[in-house]
Amino acid sequence: MTIELIDLAYLVAAALFIVGLKRLQSPATARGGNQLAALGMLLAVVATLFLREILSPVEVIVGLGIGGLVGLLLARRVRMTAMPELVAAFNGFGGLASALVAAAEVVRATGWSATLTITISVLIGMVTFSGSFVAFGKLSGRISGNPLSYPGQRVVMGLVTAGAIAAMVWAMAGPAAVFAPLAPSLFGVLVLTGLALLLGILFVLPIGGADMPVVVALLNSLSGLAAAATGFVLGNTALIVSGALVGASGLILTNIMCVAMNRSLLNVLMGGFGQESDISASSVAGALDGRTATATTADDTAILLAYAQKVIIVPGYGLAVAQAQHQVRELADLLQELGVEVKYAIHPVAGRMPGHMNVLLAEANVPYDQLFEMDEINHEFETADVTLVIGANDVVNPAARHDQASPIYGMPILNVDQSRAAVVLKRSMRPGYAGVQNELFFASRTRMLFGDAKDSVTALIGEVKEV
């Protein structure tokens, strides 16, 4: 009877997760959806605690207390600009928890199939854990965001993977349900844990900063798959259903990110993209095929903006680095007061995680109905008087459309070059992540406004006020 009640509670929880995710289809219902999913989780936890009568051990209270407090503090304290690394860290905690729960079952596992599910769960969970924390290090700047490659990279990856598989087989072959330090089932899982941790590190280290949206989405998917794998170990349908939902969600996002860069997942994971940028001397000096970029000033740009009918703003990672989102909103407000129509164009891989720019701009109170996805707004650049590019580079490079020799050829881009005028806010002429110079900067209709994005936008605000 009790077991049936628990299963019923898990079923209700899973249904609430699905309805909650469904409500994320619109910003108007999203908050309620998230709360519904949280309610489902609470129900699952309370049902487990009371119906199984495991309230007593002090460890349960300690665990819930410490975890709850840390989670609360992290969620409250984090700055919105630190959101990519926080999401990465939470993925890591989820993977760790799934792997450990599975590993705790080792001593009870009977038969090779039970051990197989445990090893799969440990493998996925631990790769998610270490991979997520390397991603956390890169996103927060504690580890260099540059792609890090070394000779024999594929060989090392292959060897570690082979070692992990060998450890899985070894764990399965050993006599089951033996608790001794050198029992194959236990020792095999320990070796597997070590190798899986190493694998996660090796898998994220070679991947460069601008490919992080793919990595974060993939780790998100893995954290779900780890939970599902643990569900197979425990024979728990709540874990299987919820884990599969999250796994599917992460895979969809991973795919969207790859399509938006016109690269395969394998190509991204191989890493090293854009590291050996072959920058010729002329492009460093700010010239391309004999053309030079034209610089402009804040007051010229302000006049251009103030007398425009329609302005499109294209934000990129540079906006997040400069933390200029509030200034951008202020500038947009000023222009709207002058009767200018302002829209934002968001490329799917702008920033360091899926939806990064949308969260930053939402923080600055930019209404979400002024934000447009690439396909919605690409035909509107033709009718824009001015396009303001703030800290974006490769995603607005027209070479992606026609230059077959370019590493970004075929990548869908925002058609900024079709607008009547473009002003690019940028620190210097340094090429973007792909390591290629941007044709847009040398177009006759483009002006460069050099400097830190925050300073430049602040100057623009001042000048627009005086127009």
């Binding site: 995710l21 051990p57 599902a228 995680m353």
Partner: protein, 93 residues
């Protein structure tokens, strides 16, 4: 085992249907919110801590419980914090 596999595969399809309609604007909250859902592992951790006798399972379970609780509590709260910032613009005349 086949039964579990059935749940798994069907849930993947449900997930795909529901999530492919989530707009780009909400992709970050989707990630953090769905990640909090993957913290459902917490129920496994509770059982490992509360119901097993061996020290091995209990201590692994305790670490798992802390990690899963961080994931669940932090994940849902930060998603809520993000989502309350998403506002619609003033209605146009």
């Amino acid at each position: 085992m086949i039964q579990y596999l059935t749940y798994f595969v069907l849930s993947m399809f449900v997930g795909r249907e529901v999530i492919s309609k989530v707009p780009q604007t909400l992709h970050t909250p989707l990630m953090s919110g769905s990640n909090a859902i993957s913290g459902i592992t917490i129920v496994g951790a509770l059982v490992a801590v509360g119901m097993t006798e061996g020290p091995w399972a209990r201590y692994l379970g305790l670490v798992a419980l802390i990690a899963a609780t961080i994931n669940v509590v932090g994940g849902f709260l930060v998603t809520d914090r993000m989502l309350q910032m998403f506002k619609r613009g003033p209605v146009k005349r």
